[in-house]
Amino acid sequence: MSRLDGLYQQLILDHNKSPRNFGKLDPHSHYSHGVNPLCGDDYEVTLQVSPDGIIEKSAFVGSGCAISKSSGSLMTSAIEGKSVADVLALKDRFLNLLICDTVTEDDRAVLGKLAVLEGVKKFPARVKCAALVWRAIEDALSESAVQTISTE
């Protein structure tokens, strides 16, 4: 598989073309706005988190490249029904996938479809694209949830 084929896998192209959970939840309990000023990626992430800390619904909307958009689609698909703690752990595992050489089969199993973004590792300039929505959800789940965050 060429490096490009590894990056632009069918699943990614598919989620890019038809992103799941694309929109804004209204009402929502958590919100964050993630932007990458350099390439113009710009997404809003909204969540409905139950009182006992379960992500009941999540959505994202905005514009950006295939990597950031498919990442948003895959993320929102992956986290529904998970606890906040599990999502944050998943986020760490996912970010690890993007940059570390020590990803195990176990990691990949836990990440499931999300692991398709591993091809980004060979494109360091694109890591921030894949990470953007995850940074946003991390931000949304933190105390200071109404801020705009930016990755560069």
Partner: protein, 409 residues
């Protein structure tokens, strides 16, 4: 056209970096709007200076320092001739276009712009020609007014004229747009601005290497450019300014060489150009810039203008064959800067795929976010051509774009 491209090979051979491979492909360098590559003559001049002649300027009674001083002052004269300034002292060395515009803006902001005054720029500005003026407006209580462009990316001259009022104190616009390629009618716009008595600042970053510049014929008060976009070094640029105006303006940076006398109580300032050149100048870079001007002159404007149009038309014809491409900027007579978007593909993805094919283009907002807003795109892909680009570079771009279509039907 054949002949043009033969000369291009002769030019290419002067640029060692063009032999480079990227991801296994020959480099197709199409980010000339951001910065141009350097010919051997510029590299050699810099190397020779550092190896055999290096010394500081102005302050030495010794031979090498006198020589350095003379080298730099000769470049000042060369540049004055290159842009047809009235005298060498009209050429102020800065660290680049951004610094040149900031210098002009700060000095004018302190002396010319008043509360209630108006500063006019256009919709096609680079951030370097927006943000400094916003700051001047903020600091002085003046208003920043924006002259609109037409859908093809040329300035709407009628609207531009209506934007000008007796309150207009500064008018600033680019010679050539770094996104659209539009070549503005500088002399005409300046003449309009002069009817209301405004001071005219031209952002020449994209102009200087692509069009002959005659500041007297243009009539503008300031013309700003960077060496690194005209085959010269980074770290140096020029503010060309009208002598009688600059003579009245306050200095902006303070330190050695720009003073006449300093006491702890008070300092008096030197004459032009020293007044605006505080500290040790970018000596090596100035000398390299001189070699860059000589390189441009060795090629000649005939070739440059002809090649620019030839490569533009060739590339545009090719782009027509690729489905789903929308050009941003189609003004008549535009320069060889092609911005476009592709249906269903974000520019960032295009950039990555092109890079894997060895094709270096810029994707993003090109430091012109407001202009992206005008065209309602988050970003564009920009292929910007230079004297050493060939038909085969354009072909490389086109086949790489086919590759994009392979992933994103």
């Amino acid at each position: 056209m054949r002949e043009l491209f033969d000369k291009t090979q002769w030019i290419r051979d002067q640029f060692p970096v063009l032999k480079r491979k990227v991801h296994g492909h020959p480099l197709v360098y199409l980010d000339n709007g951001a910065t141009t590559q350097k010919p051997q003559s510029v590299i050699d001049r810099v190397t020779r200076f550092l190896s055999e002649e290096y010394s500081t300027v102005h302050r030495g009674v010794y031979l090498m320092s006198q020589e350095s001083t003379e080298f730099c002052e000769t470049v000042r004269s060369t540049i004055a001739r290159f842009v047809n300034a009235r005298r060498p002292e009209e050429v102020i060395f800065t660290s680049g276009t951004t610094a040149a515009i900031n210098l002009a803006a700060t000095a004018l902001g302190k002396s010319v712009v008043t509360p209630g005054g108006e500063i006019v720029i256009t919709q096609m500005e680079h951030h370097a020609n927006i943000v400094p003026w916003q700051q001047v407006a903020l600091a002085t209580g003046a208003t920043l007014k924006i002259a609109p462009i037409m859908p093809d990316g040329s300035v709407d001259l009628e609207a531009f004229e209506r934007t000008l009022t007796p309150k207009t104190q500064i008018v600033a616009f680019p010679h050539i747009s770094n996104v659209l390629g539009t070549v503005n009618p500088v002399a005409q716009m300046t003449a309009m601005a002069k009817t209301v008595g405004a001071i005219v600042v031209v952002d020449g970053a994209q102009g200087i290497a692509h069009h002959p510049v005659d500041v007297q014929a243009m009539g503008c008060d300031f013309y700003c450019f960077s060496a690194h976009k005209m085959y010269g070094p980074t770290g140096v640029g020029v503010l060309v300014g009208r002598y009688d105006l600059m003579d009245q303006l306050p200095p902006v940076q303070f330190g050695g060489d720009m003073i006449e006398t300093v006491t702890f109580e008070k300092s008096t300032f030197a004459k032009l150009p020293a007044k605006f050149e505080a500290g040790t100048p970018p000596i090596t870079e100035i000398i390299g810039m001189g070699a860059a001007v000589e390189f441009i002159e060795s090629i000649g404007w005939n070739y440059i203008l002809g090649h620019d149009q030839a490569i533009l038309n060739y590339a545009l014809a090719g782009l027509e064959t690729i489905p789903g491409i929308q050009l941003i900027g189609t003004a008549p007579g535009k320069s060889a800067i092609i911005s476009f978007v592709m249906d269903g593909v974000h520019p960032h993805d295009v950039g990555t795929i092109l890079d894997m094919e060895g094709v270096a283009v810029r994707v993003g907002h090109h430091c012109a976010q407001p202009l992206m807003g005008v065209y309602d795109v988050p970003a564009t892909i920009r292929a910007s051509f230079s004297v050493y680009n060939t038909e085969s570079d354009a072909d490389g771009l086109l086949s790489a774009l086919q590759k994009v279509r392979h992933y994103f039907q």
